[in-house]
């Protein structure tokens, strides 16, 4: 399992659960726990992607919705 450090709505970095990590402003947080929040920063579990079905091929991991 990996945790994502999120600032506002942007992922800043991945964090190892239970470890310590630094915020962009230099503050030190430990331990890293899912659900932790402090002002504009929070930690959330990174959900693993679904397995690729047989016969299918990933050509890109980026997608953009165009309306």
């Amino acid at each position: 399992m990996t945790l994502a450090l999120i600032e506002g709505s942007a992922i800043v970095q991945n964090v190892v659960p239970g470890s310590g990590f630094n915020l962009p402003n230099g503050d030190r947080v430990s331990p890293a726990l899912d659900g932790w929040t402090n002002g504009i920063h929070r930690l959330a579990t990174v959900v693993e992607a679904d397995p690729v079905p047989d016969g299918k091929l990933i050509v890109s991991t980026d997608a953009e919705m165009v309306v």
Binding site: G18, S19, G20, L23, G26, D27, R28, V29, S30, P31, A32, L33, W36, T37, N38
Partner: protein, 153 residues
């Protein structure tokens, strides 16, 4: 003159500075007592060598479960708190140079601790295991503050 313990100074005062009913209290008696007192005290304006170890009272910050705790050296150079929820330990802001050691003990609902505003942090990571203990050694000189975390288990 002579450096004396508090109990000796008190007994000397009783013996040598008794009520002056018979007017036998001299200037020399008072001068000797004042100089003994000066030689026995640790004075702010003098550089001195301490002859004894000194004990401190530990300031108890109680149970902290949220928010920001900013340590004040005036409370004590030795402090303690119970971690029972995610909170922030902020760098002290009081002017001057000083050191503070704080003992942090995890309770059942201990949370992550954010060390905020320090020039540098080092040492172990905190845990949330109930009963775990940590020393955090904090120093401040001029505008620099540091925090060193030491796990005690």
């Amino acid at each position: 003159m002579t450096s004396k313990a508090r109990a000796i100074l008190n007994s000397d005062a009783d013996a040598n500075l008794a009520n002056n009913d018979t007017r036998d209290l001299s200037e020399a008696d008072i001068r000797t007592s004042v100089k003994d007192l000066a030689d026995s005290a640790v004075l702010l304006k003098d550089s001195d060598t301490l002859e004894n170890g000194y004990l401190s009272t530990v300031h108890d910050l109680g149970t902290v479960s949220s928010g920001t705790t900013t340590l004040a050296p005036a409370n004590s150079n030795f402090q303690k708190m119970t971690n029972n929820g995610a909170s922030t330990l902020a760098a002290p802001t009081a002017t001057g140079a000083y050191a503070i050691t704080i003992l942090i003990t995890n309770a059942a609902s201990a949370g992550a601790i954010t060390l905020s505003g320090f020039s540098n942090t080092s040492g172990d990571d905190f845990t949330t295991t109930n009963g775990d203990d940590f020393f955090v050694d904090i120093r401040k000189i001029d505008s620099f503050t540091s925090a060193h975390v030491e796990a005690l288990q």
